[in-house]
Symmetry: C2
Subunit: 340 residues, 2 copies
DNA sequence: ATGAAAGCGCTAACAC
DNA sequence: GTGTTAGCGCTTTCAT
């Protein structure tokens, strides 16, 4: 019997008067087991309060039913939404999800990712904070598939699930230009961030398509908080030739810009990437490049699970989640999105 | 060498020309290892691209550096905030966090919790969806500590980290009564939810303290979405003797009530439990029972980690995270909270 | 349809 | 200081 700890399969086998292997067969619902024998085993399991040690099973079989999600910032609702969606898909398919946050730090990402591989997770979903991911080459080669989310990775064969950043930004700016705006400000987070570069590129494409060029004086980068964005917006509005419209590269920039604009009651059209909670409650109408956050998580999870199931034969793919330009604010709509 | 898979400690030992145990010592930075030997081992590790198999280590040692967090609803920003805080504390102390969501379903909670115990997680942080947790008695007895979060559990010795629901609600309603409101509506989610019962009890305490009693006609329960709350608010406002103030039991109720009140431009004081994003941006002043979500996660994680470290000797404790009654909306404040 | 034996990769006792 | 020997609890051969 158990010496001090939990009951093991051996204890169950002894209790049921069968062999170890029979217990294993019953627990894993393998075929070719006598019903009466199975019943005896189940009885013994019940009596002993036995629970299978998944660690041991995983060690022996080499399989693992845990996925890992390394986000760039788990405190961000975006990644949290992704995590929830991921988790839902995984649990539905009998797997679990470990989550961790790199806090946008390349070294932390590397440490976490390798640490999770040490735990022999079944696969890795990674929001790149690092530039180069060849440090994962061995893990991928040894059968731990990786899916990049939100930003592309490099250095290893891996699938990627991204947002159509360029297309979404282009559509938003095309609209501003079509509305006759001559001076359009652009507020962005750090250019080191992939999505910011793509969104800026999208804005530039819109200008090119209109046969115009973006005024560098109206592009402000490195805005990390709404406060940064608010200050930047203030400077733009106080300049000699202020913008009449602004495109914001993410929801923090949008909120900051709005705060300044609303405080001044300035006449500036606002368009921004990323929806945010209660955006529909804003007293002023704005346009938002919106997309389905859950869709991102669902696609990443299914892509990873499929690759695990298939053994990783197929070519790495890159999926783009589409965006939509929508109205927010300006009225209290009845079909407001549910507060999570 | 490796037959097909990853290199093992044995491979490293062979490569470095030392024994298995020496490699183990080097990897676990045990004392009493010759520096030169350690260097040789590190070289071999580097050459082979060896990564320790944490599963095997955990199986053998019986310890596990993964914590599990079973939330009631991972799509809720509240639990996500908790999860992020938890995760931060855990990673800081060299542990990982697995997250799962019971979706407020007792059976799902049980399945998930036991499943995670099968994985021999080091400890469990649980938001109870079930009423009875004696199904975990064996796991707790076998050394898997449990901490209940947000709601108390039952049937097992376990720590709990809760919000001061009663105190917060009482303070909010005391204030409404002190402001001279004769008729105060109360909007709540399902009474099956512990926090709702506590918050209602707090409201009742406030009435008692004022020598008054709550009018049952003004208490509406079972409001799960903002839409439900909005409809309930509409009914209250259309009644023959409508309330002049309303206390909302959670942020969904607050948002729904506000939507109806703002649409009608009704003169109703609003006070609600739970802060929410952009609440400061509301065009109308409200009062919010606020608390530090991260604090909840941090306390739960440290409590669990301490219990794991101490072997679980101490008596189970219950901690109450304090609340504060704060102003929201009514103006654009400069010190707006950061958008996550 | 069932069982015996081997071993997954590592750590914990003991030797030396 | 270092090596040798046992297992952790399970799944996987392979035999019966």
């Amino acid at each position: 019997m158990r010496k001090s700890g939990r009951p093991t399969m051996i204890d169950v086998a002894a209790e049921a008067g069968v062999s170890l292997k029979t217990v294993s067969r019953v627990i894993n619902t393998e075929p070719n087991v006598d019903a009466a024998m199975a019943a005896r085993v189940h009885d013994a399991i019940e009596r002993l309060g036995y629970h299978r040690n998944a660690l041991a099973a995983s060690l022996r079989s080499g399989t693992n039913d845990t996925l890992a999600f390394v986000a760039a910032d788990l405190a961000n609702t975006f990644y949290l939404g992704v995590a929830a969606a991921l988790s839902g898909v995984a649990v539905q398919r009998g797997m679990h999800v470990v989550m961790a946050s790199s806090e946008e730090d390349a070294a932390a990402e590397r440490r976490l990712a390798l640490d999770l591989c040490q735990r022999r997770v079944g696969g890795l979903i990674l929001v790149p904070a690092a530039w180069d991911h060849s440090y994962l080459a061995r893990e991928v080669a040894h059968g731990t598939p990786v899916v990049f989310l939100d930003r592309p990775g490099s250095g290893i064969p891996a699938d990627a699930v991204l947002i159509d950043n360029r297309g979404g930004a282009r559509a938003a700016v095309v609209e501003l230009l079509a509305a006759g705006h001559e001076r359009v400000g652009i507020l962005l987070d750090a250019p080191e961030i992939y999505t910011m570069r793509e969104r800026l590129a999208g804005a530039e494409e819109a200008f090119s398509a209109a046969g115009r060029t973006l005024d560098p004086a109206l592009v402000v980068s490195g805005l990390h908080t709404p406060q940064d964005a608010r200050a930047a917006m203030a400077r733009l509005l106080e300049s000699s030739d202020p913008p009449t419209a602004v495109f914001c590269g993410n929801n923090r920039a949008t909120v900051g810009a709005l705060e300044e604009i609303m405080t001044r009651d300035a006449d500036v059209d606002v368009s921004g990437f990323d929806d945010f909670e209660l955006s529909w409650m804003l007293p002023r109408r704005i346009r938002i490049v919106s997309y389905d956050i859950a869709e991102l998580g669902i696609r990443a999870a299914t892509t990873l699970l499929d690759r695990i199931a298939s053994g990783g034969a197929a070519e790495p793919s890159t999926q783009l989640v589409p965006t939509a330009l929508v109205d927010r604010g300006g009225r209290l709509s009845v079909d407001a999105p549910r507060l999570p």
